[in-house]
Subunit: 462 residues, 2 copies
């Protein structure tokens, strides 16, 4: 049997494979048997896919504050009970209540008077234009430096943030990190210079006609100006047009931020029988954007987390520590569920030893990202050969996830499930994020790897 | 820089990572730069996806002998010229001409007289029932041993081969290998015992309503009896029904094997400037089943092979050896193109040093299968770190592919592109194998890894 040994020496890690027949190999062999049972159970009898179908097709979009978000709270509490959680409860938290209102519309006008309809949608949290719309000439910017250099020239204009995601990055999240500022802070930065509206190129790689929404964050020092995402095809067309003529744009959005409303994190636990005070969190976020079913983002993470509980229970594994599946509310436009989870952990002096998040889609597994101490990382990396046969071949430093990130304050070791990223930005925050674009086997294989990780942390600690 | 060193010692291979700063590391660094250029070109300007759209949407199903197969011959010859091949030519070969005819129909009848329509399709190469159909009581068999044990009891029956693919296999092809006998030789084996018809559970893992076709091979010693595939849902239902009652089935198929017709392999070459007589083959198969567009099977392999030529040419790389993209005809129901390629290689005394096939779909890359000498394998495995950043982390022994397999006779080193297999049997030989189920980035990333492999073999030989 080949076993991977990682020797940590200062900051340099050497990795060796050995034909290894020691006691630790026998321990790994026993673990590999349990992990195979977990995987077999999930791949054969897994309920994650049918749970996801319910969330997507019977409930639908689950934007914070919506009636569907509330239905999803009730549905996942029920799923957790059916999965075998011994305790299921809700954690109340107030969430923002942004509504899109009537379907947005918009077009550009070329110099010859020709009007071309745009595929657009309001950015999450943005203000609406109302029926009078916004109408102005368009200035394209390709970087924040260029925005700042243009400065006052942006006054009374519609700023068109055209930050294409670099397709050469193999991990598509790298391209997202480089360009997400255009959507997140772009509108606020343009407002600083007197712009009256913003169009953002959708954060997608492929040329298509779908606008991708997502949060924008205003700056209280400047006016809140209306902001929309446009499809990559539209962005390419406008950019090309601007090469040899002026372009005007008009758009009409009806979105609105209403007062906060009450919502919930949903929690299901398997209580540990040796160290119940040590809590292992596994979760995703229950809310989604409103344009589609939130299947990959992040229905997948939700049903995978429930499946971890189900598979452990179905295999008759009695955890030492308490395993807690958490459906975080409001990741998309506020992170209130995440804040509440941390706040209550502090109030209740909880010992949150480890947290694992799945919020990069239910695609075929490749890796786990680790955000923990070096000592913990060395320990976890030694487990890699136990995952290898199930598609995970890499444990690498990286962020655990948006919902569990704040737990660092408590010293919690964090990990993020990192599946293949090639298809993620085809669906992220767009109308294409539907159940049909999730593969049953990929979803279940991801859950199998998550269950294995939770099993190992439960057995050995961090 | 980490470099992987594989030390082959007899039949045992030890793998070490080293902080490696020697000349060979510098060579690898130079290679990694070229490979990045190839990948950047393909991920940024790749034409494989649009070529696939053409094959799928403008031409459609490309069963051997069909007018669409002929159109695909012409279209890919054009694509190869546009990709920059310096020589494009056709290799004539006679192919079987099986036609499905009118849409099949079938149903089962339960003891209470209730008729339930089946989702079925004739197996490729099978004989039709004609309008009178076949009608008999159904016997389920779950293994070849059971079939043989039943023996004469199968006389005048419809044999229902219910061989479910084991979902616990992570590589889904392992489940296929275990069960494919039911479709390939099942009908002939049932005919031996006097059965008058065969229904085969589709070789798919998930429960759904799509019948999956594929070749069956008759045995000339026994009657050719009509054979159909039924969906996994139908198979589950019939099996459940048979637990407590007898079931009769009727089906009507109109397929027919016509005389052989002329078709072609399509070949495009980049002639080598140092060792032009050494030929590197990269290919897939141009024919597909008739129920869908043959997008993953094997339009993907076709357009990836063309893309390899295009990317090498677009990067101004002058190959030492001759690189030849081959679109093999008739993999699905005869393998005549493959046989012709070997036959002509012998006639022309060609030196086919290496062949790479892509016929497992255009999914996200994971591995290459190697079928070559141990010495060659050791050489190739040393390149693994050059692929690692592009998703390929494994070089493992395995079959190169059905089309290139016969080249072993010439001592050709073989490799097969081995992408993630989770979604393959959702579409394989079924109506779901359409362009929409191919991811542009996954397809292109596969082509990038194939181009890297061809580049390395061209530079260093095997």
């Amino acid at each position: 049997m080949f076993v991977l040994i990682k020797i940590c020496y200062g900051k340099i890690a050497f990795t060796f494979y050995f034909l290894f027949l020691s006691i630790s190999s026998r321990a790994q062999n026993a673990d590999s048997i349990v992990i195979k049972k977990l995987a077999d159970e999930i791949l054969t009898n897994g309920e994650a896919y049918e749970n996801l179908r319910f969330l997507c097709k019977k409930i639908g979009p689950r934007l914070s504050g919506s009636p569907q978000a509330q239905k999803a709270v009730e549905a996942t509490a029920k799923m957790l009970r059916e999965a075998g959680a011994d305790t299921v409860y809700l954690q109340p938290c107030m969430v923002p209540h942004w509504v899109r209102g009537k379907k947005e519309k918009g077009f550009i006008t070329l110099e010859n008077g020709k009007k071309i309809t745009l595929n657009l949608c309001a950015l999450g949290n943005s203000v609406g234009t109302g029926a009078k719309g916004v109408n102005a000439s368009v200035i394209e910017v390709n970087s924040i430096a260029q925005l700042n250099a243009l400065g006052k020239k942006l006054k009374n204009k519609i700023v068109f943030f055209n930050f294409p995601m670099n397709p050469a990055h193999i991990n598509t999240f790298d391209g997202y990190s480089e360009t997400a500022v255009s959507r997140g802070r772009g509108p606020a930065m343009a407002a600083k210079y007197g712009a009256i509206g913003v169009m953002v190129r959708s954060l997608a790689i492929n040329p298509d006609n779908f606008p991708h929404t997502g949060s924008t964050v205003y700056n209280d020092s400047f006016p809140k100006i209306p902001a929309v995402a446009i499809s990559t095809n539209d962005a390419n067309f406008i950019s090309k047009s601007l090469k040899n003529q002026s372009v005007r744009a008009s758009f009409f959005t009806y979105c609105n931020m209403l007062p906060d409303v009450l919502s919930y994190n949903v929690i299901g636990e398997l209580r540990g029988n040796e160290l119940p005070q040590e809590i292992i969190t596994v979760g995703g976020h229950l809310d989604s954007w409103d344009l589609a079913e939130g299947a990959q983002d992040d229905g997948a993470g939700i049903v995978q987390s429930i499946e971890v509980i189900r598979a452990i229970k179905a295999n008759g594994i009695q955890p030492k520590r308490t395993i807690r599946a958490v459906m975080f509310m409001n990741e998309e436009n506020g992170g209130r569920g995440s804040k509440k989870y941390l706040e209550l952990a502090k109030v209740n002096k909880e010992q949150l030893v480890f947290a694992l998040e799945s919020d990069a889609g239910g695609f075929t597994p490749r890796a786990f990202r680790l955000d923990m101490t070096e000592g913990q990382m060395c320990k976890v990396e030694k487990w890699i050969d136990l995952f290898y046969n199930y598609g995970v071949y890499e444990m690498k430093p990286g962020s655990g996830g948006v919902d569990i990130g704040p737990l660092k304050e408590l010293g919690t070791g964090l990990a993020g499930f990192s599946p293949d990223s090639q298809r993620y930005f085809d669906v992220h925050h767009a109308a294409t994020d539907v159940f049909e674009n999730v593969s049953r086997r990929e979803l279940h294989l991801g859950a199998a790897n998550m269950a294995a990780f939770i099993y190992l942390v439960d057995k050995y600690g961090l």
